[in-house]
């Protein structure tokens, strides 16, 4: 089944903090879809609450991020959104690992790249 993923990004990397991200990557892939469809959304301001609203409005299945506060983590989980937090690395490699099914929360991918 196709999975819709959202990653708060900072340049080429996963953004260090969910609440301070001003750009997000939304990707759809997996299941029968051979190709991953990606789009980058620029936010007007950094705000955890607005980001949570966007996640629910877009019908996101999984959020991959680095630092996130417990309150927002619990909120998203309660809304049945899967959250992979403390993930570090370039968003491209993170996304690849996710659709390969090998990504875990807390994964640090910088060392793989080095």
């Amino acid at each position: 089944m196709a999975q819709k993923v959202l990653i708060p990004i900072n340049g080429n990397d996963v953004a260090p903090r969910f609440d301070l991200a001003t750009e997000v990557l939304i990707a759809v892939g997996g299941g029968v879809r051979a190709k991953i469809k990606e789009k980058i959304v620029v936010l007007s301001e950094s705000s955890s609450e607005k980001l949570c609203q966007l996640i629910l409005a877009e019908g996101i299945d999984t959020v991959i991020c680095n630092g996130i506060e417990e309150e927002h983590y619990q909120y998203l989980t309660w809304k049945r959104v899967q959250v992979f937090d403390s993930v570090m690395g370039s968003w491209k490699s993170v996304l690849k690992r996710f659709y390969e099914g090998t990504l875990k929360p807390g994964e640090i991918l910088y060392k793989d790249a080095d």
């Binding site: 260090p16 680095n66 630092g67 506060e69 417990e70 937090d85 807390g106 910088y110």
Partner: protein, 469 residues
């Protein structure tokens, strides 16, 4: 570069284990701002082990707000000074932690930039302590750590959250105005106006128009519409100070307002629905005034929804010392003085004085001392002479403390041994009553007995709320 910094850490002294023992978060970064070393404290704070963090860009591990907004390492070079700031981080446990960071460039012996050294201090214990201290000793501008004041600090935020009328009682100078302001600022009406009216400062006719407003042409001189303080305080708080001095006629009008929240300006038939919270204050004993017929019992019951009795300073124990130090600090900075403290003897005098004028008097005493004192310490000779020259303070010179603190009385007029008031007003009222009793209730005869004109007697009876009916 990573290796060079690592080599420095592996020098003759085992620097890593030394840094590990320091009870403050320390991180060593290379020139590309990647983590080289993370000490044990920082591992505990961030939740990342040294192994996990090595070679990872520092902003991904530390997740500081400042890293993303304006990283202090950017633009830092060998000649740069260290930088420090307060920010916050989100650790692996998803907790936002307030931190103080200090960043300095790391240089080799030749002065070449090798990387950065960052210390990170967890501010949570300090913040918690600050919150505790401020909660216990201060509310708005009120200061105190005596049990009575702590009790007031605890109930004020709760009182502020509802719209009930509040009656503040306490001796003069205890801070009734401050309490009223604090309630307003802590309430949902804080964005609205805070209008203060001194009921004792204006004659009755003026006060009525001041409070309720008037319509153009309502009386001679009313050349335009005046909104009145109730209307001005719409969506805010109206603070009626010296409510005990409010004339009886206006007490009825205030009572009507408290009942239906509608203000009728003088000369107007159309009312205005005012959304106003009323806070009243007085230093008088309203219960006593009710018994004497000078204050309406029904108004007292309506105002007395929430009662705050502010204790006199002499019953507040250690608060005297706390307030002395606070005013000394404030006045030092205001007058540009460098007085460090009070001498032991001056402190003894100040602590034993009963402060009939309460906090206001204490503030004035400190202000006098700060002005006079040219030394580093306030000595007895710097205090007002009435403190040092007068004999020891006896209970007779102090207002009745028991009644004042019990909340049963906030009228601090001196009492004679029989419990009767010794003011002229009370004596005059008693004289009128005696004369009326002798005259069998006939006012003309009573006026003759008192050698007053009938109109004088009538005016005085009205003033004291005496009715022959």
């Amino acid at each position: 570069m990573q290796n060079r910094v690592q080599e420095s850490l592996d020098s003759v002294i085992d620097l890593q284990s030394v840094i590990d023992e320091i009870p403050m978060g320390i991180v060593v970064l290379d020139r590309d701002r990647r983590v080289v070393f993370l000490n044990r404290s920082l591992q505990a704070l961030t939740g990342f082990s040294h192994k996990e963090a090595v070679c990872v860009p520092c902003h991904q591990i530390l997740r500081n707000r400042i890293c993303l907004k304006s990283c202090p390492t950017l633009g830092m070079h060998t000649d740069s000074k260290s930088e420090s700031c307060e920010t916050d981080l989100i650790n692996r446990d998803r907790i936002r932690v307030p931190v103080h960071i200090h960043l300095a460039p790391l240089k080799d012996k030749l002065g070449n930039m090798m990387g950065f050294l960052e210390t990170i201090e967890d501010l949570r214990p300090i913040r918690e302590l600050d919150a505790k201290i401020s909660q216990a000793y201060v509310f708005a501008h009120l200061v105190g750590r005596s049990p009575q004041m702590e009790k007031i600090f605890q109930i004020l935020p709760v009182i502020a959250q509802n719209d009930s009328s509040v009656l503040i009682t306490g001796e003069t100078g205890t801070g009734k105005d401050r309490v009223a302001e604090a309630i307003h600022h802590a309430s949902g009406r804080s964005k609205g106006p805070f209008v203060k009216v001194n009921c004792g400062a204006l004659p009755e006719t003026l006060l009525e128009s001041e409070l309720f407003g008037h319509q153009k042409g309502a009386f001679t001189g009313a050349v335009e519409n005046k909104p009145g303080r109730f209307r001005l305080a719409h969506n805010g708080t109206l603070y009626l100070t010296e409510i005990g001095d409010l004339p009886l006629a206006l007490q009825v009008k205030l009572l009507t307002f408290l009942d239906d929240q509608v203000v009728y300006p003088l000369g107007s038939t159309r009312g205005f629905q005012a959304n106003v919270r009323v806070i009243a204050a007085t230093h008088r004993n309203l219960e006593q005034m009710v018994r004497e017929g000078r204050f309406r019992a029904d108004l007292l019951f309506r105002l007395n929804v929430v009662r705050i009795q502010i204790p006199p300073l002499r019953n507040r124990g250690d608060d005297i010392r706390l307030l002395l130090d606070r005013f000394l600090n404030e006045l030092n900075s205001r007058f540009g003085k460098k007085i460090s403290s009070f001498s032991k003897k001056a402190l003894e005098i100040l602590k034993s004085y009963p402060y009939p004028g309460n906090v206001r008097e204490l503030q004035n005493i400190v202000e006098y001392a700060v002005n006079i004192c040219q030394e580093r310490q306030v000595l007895p000779q710097h205090l007002p002479s009435y403190l040092t020259e007068s004999p020891a303070w006896t209970p007779e010179t102090v207002p009745n403390t028991e009644l004042a603190s019990s909340g049963k009385s906030s009228n601090f007029e001196p009492l004679d041994p029989d419990g009767h008031e010794q003011t002229w007003a009370a004596a005059e009222r008693r004289m009128i009553m005696d004369a009326l009793v002798k005259a069998g209730g006939r006012r003309s005869r009573a006026a003759e007995l008192m050698r007053w004109g009938r109109s004088t007697l009538w005016r005085k009876m009205k003033q004291y709320g005496i009715s022959t009916k």
